[in-house]
């Protein structure tokens, strides 16, 4: 019998609640003209509204989906429905000796490394390196040009004062942000756009805005002084400015092998751009890693991954003085393993850990933290995490799942995983009697 995710884990991969409903509806045999499986994949032909049935495949090892339906959602309801059917009625799947061509073609394509890009003339490694140096040099010049403008703009802002910031309006920030986009500094552009909402955020906005401006100033200064800084710090500066490393670039670096458990996930949306932060915990290394995925507008995330999944794989961390963000170099799903409860962080270690992170990289926005033996408490309208040493962490006032947290917690001492941004904690999962519960 092939190992598989549980129904709950499969449904956790659904891009939205309507997909949960639709995929459930498709998880019955009569919706399928054919459904079959072998050791590595399952496939089926779903009776849809069109003349021809949709052809659906699920790669079990990597939890990858393929379907001929026109849906923009990923995974689509057919892929999830077929996987759910498999989770509940594995025995009724046909086991043919050979899979059809449309299945083997896709699986072969997935397992074959991508061919190198075909170019009219194949440059040598040396030529490639030269091209890269020139490209990097051009970008640095462009960013430097933008930063000169930004310095003048910041000086003007501080000279005139922040008092009128609440009346500046979005356009004020957006104009300089657009200039930064032109200068190929999208990270700075994002920070500037975020500042527009700080001025309207109510209490203590002056301090918050000054803090953000000061961090931006530090970033500019760091960029200008990059020649004298350690390579990891320069990498952090470049990341904060908006340089990105591609998966292919990172895959050339050695990674960290481990059994990685997905211990938390959070999706945030801003200006129709959805960012999904998936937190992994290495069973052997006890390292915490962050996978970032993005989807714009109605699109859904390409890579399906959900809390409580365990993957055996190699992670490569992005360069930086505080390695946290990573990418999966290679992996297979480990459906047999479960999260184990060996979290041993404390509230004090969260604070110390954050201080260490800031010391390494002042632009770190948040860190993933696993804390054991904490209780939830309510003080007025505020929620807190506290422990037997009378240490406490405030929970974000924007957090909407506190009642769910309290309900699972039951006033007991438990392990919690979440994000800490230096001011407030955002709970994502609880370890309840050894079982990860996503909040």
């Amino acid at each position: 019998m092939t190992t598989t995710l549980s129904a709950a884990q499969i449904l956790a991969l659904a891009p939205d609640s309507s997909s949960v409903k639709s995929s459930r509806e498709l998880s019955i045999p009569r919706k399928w003209k054919l459904f079959a499986a072998n050791e590595v994949a399952i496939w089926g032909e779903c009776i849809g509204s069109g003349k021809d049935p949709y052809q659906t495949i699920v790669d079990l090892a990597q939890t990858a989906f393929k379907c001929s339906c026109p849906s923009r959602k990923f995974p689509c309801k057919h892929g999830l429905g077929l996987y759910l059917l498999f989770a509940t009625e594995q025995h009724s799947f046909q086991r043919p000796e050979a899979a059809p061509d449309w299945v083997t073609d896709w699986l072969t394509k997935r397992s074959t490394p991508k061919p190198p890009r075909i170019e009219t003339s194949t440059p040598t490694d040396h030529q490639n390196a030269e091209v890269e140096i020139v490209r990097e040099s051009r970008r640095q010049s462009k960013v430097a040009g933008g930063i000169v403008d930004l310095q003048i703009w910041l000086s003007d802002l501080v000279r005139k004062g922040l008092a009128d910031a609440p009346t500046f309006g979005y356009k004020f920030w957006d104009q300089i942000a657009a200039r930064m986009v032109d200068a190929q500094a999208p990270g700075i552009a994002r920070q500037l756009r975020e500042m527009s909402s700080i001025a309207a955020s109510g209490t203590d906005w002056q301090q918050k805005l000054l803090d953000r401006i000061a961090l931006l100033h530090l970033l500019i200064e760091g960029f200008e002084n990059r020649e004298n800084l350690p390579a990891d710090t320069v990498a952090d500066i470049k990341t904060a400015i908006g340089w990105t490393s591609t998966h292919d670039d990172l895959s050339k670096s050695p990674g960290v092998y481990d059994q990685w458990t997905v211990i938390g996930q959070r999706i945030v949306e801003e200006d129709r751009l959805k960012a999904r932060r998936t937190w992994l915990f290495g069973q052997q290394t006890h390292q915490i890693a962050l996978l970032l995925h993005f989807a714009y507008g109605n699109a859904t995330f390409e890579y399906p991954i959900a809390v409580d999944m365990v993957i055996d794989g190699e992670l490569v961390f992005y360069p930086g003085a505080f390695p946290q963000r990573a990418t999966l170099k290679s992996y297979v799903l480990n459906a047999n393993s479960r999260a184990n409860g060996t979290w041993n962080g404390t509230i004090a270690s969260v604070v110390v850990g954050y201080s260490s992170a800031i010391t390494c990289n002042p632009w770190v926005e948040r860190i993933g933290v696993a804390i054991s033996d904490v209780r939830l408490a309510i003080q007025g309208n505020n929620w807190l995490l506290h422990n037997s040493e009378s240490h406490y962490l405030p929970i974000s006032s924007d957090y909407k799942r506190a009642w769910q947290f309290l309900s699972v917690n039951g006033g007991h001492s438990q392990s919690v995983f979440g994000e800490w941004d230096g001011e407030s904690f955002w709970p994502l999962t609880i370890l309840d009697n050894g079982v990860l519960v996503a909040l």
């Binding site: 549980s6 129904a7 709950a8 609640s17 949960v20 409903k21 459930r24 509806e25 019955i28 509940t88 910041l154 000086s155 501080v158 000279r159 005139k160 004062g161 922040l162 008092a163 002056q206 301090q207 000054l210 803090d211 401006i213 000061a214 961090l215 100033h217 530090l218 200064e221 509230i347 004090a348 604070v351 954050y354 201080s355 800031i358 010391t359 002042p362 209780r375 939830l376 408490a377 309510i378 003080q379 807190l384 506290h386 040493e389 009378s390 240490h391 406490y392 962490l393 405030p394 009642w403 769910q404 309290l406 309900s407 699972v408 039951g410 006033g411 007991h412 230096g422 519960v437 909040l439």
Partner: protein, 521 residues
């Protein structure tokens, strides 16, 4: 304020005012950042300020210390006595709470109660919030919320009903809750106490009767109906002279159900003096009436209205309807030795036939007399009476008890055309919320399937027939989910109108089937 806070305040003040107005940042006299700032040796006041602000934020963030304070610990929740449902069942319940198949919730709760399962902790907040909006589900919700649900509810005022609706709360605890409970919760207390200690519920009602609003007094009175007895007379007599006519009407209605009450006696006395049965020369019987010509002001104590609001029913006829409505119709069957059908036939010849039928209908509803309700509803359906003003007087399908399916089957069999929007069974089927028997479900589905094959008729709307299918998916036994009710491979023009509804129907039925399976496993 420590020196860091002072320096920070100075920085913010300068930044807000602007260096143009405030001048350069005053020197860092305490020397917190002096050495760092000296290295930078800036001359530009804006850069000086930004440098120090950057140092300040990192100094604060990197030097943050853990917060220590005395936090009030929450009590811990008790051990659960009921097991949680399976993860698969929890996922189905989550779908219901998230808004898909919302109408399955009462059935799902019954299944949880029946299988003695509790709802998983993570879903409790959403479930308790549903209970805050839907009082009719509270007793079931409290039963499936387990110990954790009761524990959780104490921290959220909108879930306070959990305490009062809780089955393990003693009568002493409920009485203690009474004075501080909200109106909804006081209703729940009366409801619970009524089952535990009927007289205690009545004494509580008497105690706070005057301080309740009229609508609350009426609602509390209604709660006495299930275990009504002569021991409730003290509160009914108080309500009988209430200043609110609605409360008086409810008191009169309940008093009329007590055989020895003054209301029952008065109603029989008045009705008997008006109604006579005569034997006709050519066979059969005929009911004749002698109605009062004037409204007696004393009747207002019995909440008898002077003026009729029913179309085609005059004031005198309306008085008869109201008095008859306070008499159990079996009284007349026994008095005249006739079946309900025979009495209805005898009334047919009277000038006051309509009033007699409405009065008996009201009385049959009041006493929940299935046989009378069956005969009367059959009459009203056959008569196709379209007066909306009599809707509240005429029995509903639910009043027929086990006879409901018999009547509906008769009507379905009697009409050759399958269900459509003007079919006499359509409205009744919509009223009949079930659960439906398998046999009856098959009959209805076969009828709708026949409807789906009829060619398009411009005189008949199709949307209602199609929507019936979606409604009925919640009433049909889920054991029928696997049967092929419709030929989904059809591609005729008519099928286009039905395909989506049939799909929804099958999905709902399958969802319910899954729910039953997962909760039984």
């Amino acid at each position: 304020m420590n020196r860091i806070d002072q320096e920070r305040k100075k920085l913010v003040a300068t930044a807000v005012l602007g260096t143009a107005r405030s001048g350069p940042l005053p020197p860092d006299v305490e020397g917190i950042f002096r050495s760092s700032l000296t290295i930078l040796s800036r001359e530009n006041p804006e850069e000086q300020l930004l440098d120090e602000a950057a140092l300040m934020i990192n100094y604060r963030r990197a030097g943050m210390v853990v917060s220590i304070g005395s936090i009030d610990e929450l009590p811990t929740a008790s051990q659960e006595s009921l097991p949680s449902c399976s993860p698969a069942a929890a996922e189905l319940l989550k779908q219901i709470l998230d808004g898909s198949y919302r109408d399955v919730l009462p059935e799902a709760l019954d299944l949880f109660v029946g299988h003695q399962l509790r709802v998983p902790f993570l879903l409790l907040p959403d479930l308790l919030t549903v209970g805050a909006r839907r009082p009719e589900l509270r007793s079931q919700i409290v039963r499936v919320a387990g110990e954790r649900g009761k524990w959780l509810a104490q921290f959220n005022k909108s879930w306070s009903y959990v305490g009062t609706a809780s089955v393990d709360r003693t009568s002493e605890e409920l009485v203690a809750d009474w004075d501080t409970a909200k109106a909804d919760d006081r209703l729940a207390i009366i409801h619970r106490l009524r089952e535990m200690d009927s007289n205690l519920a009545v004494s509580l009602l008497i105690r706070s009767w005057k301080s309740e609003t009229a609508s609350n007094r009426q609602a509390m009175l209604s709660l006495l109906e299930p275990h009504l007895s002569s021991e409730d007379a003290p509160i009914l007599e108080i309500a009988f002279v209430d200043k609110s006519v609605e409360v008086r009407r409810e008191a009169v209605r309940l008093l009329s159900k007590l055989p020895l009450s003054i209301v029952r006696k008065k109603a029989i006395e008045l009705a008997e003096s008006s109604i006579q049965l005569k034997t006709r020369i050519f066979g059969g019987s005929e009911i004749t009436l002698a109605l009062p010509h004037a409204y007696d002001p004393e009747w207002s104590h019995y909440a008898i209205e002077e003026t009729s609001y029913i179309k085609d029913i005059g004031d005198r006829a309306w008085w008869l309807v109201q008095w008859l409505g306070l008499v159990p119709p079996d009284y007349w069957s026994n008095k005249f030795g006739m079946t309900p059908s025979e009495l209805l036939a005898a009334a047919q010849l009277s000038d006051w036939a309509d009033a007699l039928r409405l009065g008996w209908s009201k009385g049959a509803k009041l006493t929940n007399n299935h046989q009378w309700n069956y005969v009367l509803l059959k009459y009203w359906v056959t008569a196709a009476d379209s007066r909306t003003s009599i809707t509240n007087l005429v029995p509903r399908v639910g009043d027929l008890g086990p006879l409901a399916e018999a009547l509906l089957s008769e009507i379905l069999d009697a009409v050759s055309l399958p269900l459509h929007d003007r079919h006499p069974a359509t409205a009744l089927l919509r009223q009949y919320t079930g659960p439906w028997s398998e046999e009856f479900s098959r009959k209805v589905l076969a009828n709708i399937e026949r409807r789906s094959r009829l060619p398009k008729d411009p005189n008949q709307q199709i949307w209602l027939s199609v929507s019936l299918l979606r409604e009925f998916a919640y009433r049909i036994p889920p054991t029928l989910a696997s049967e092929p009710w419709f030929d989904v491979t059809r591609d005729d023009d008519e099928w286009m109108n039905w395909a989506n509804a049939v799909n929804d129907f099958q999905n709902t039925l399958t969802f319910r089937q899954n729910l039953y399976r997962e909760l039984e496993s």
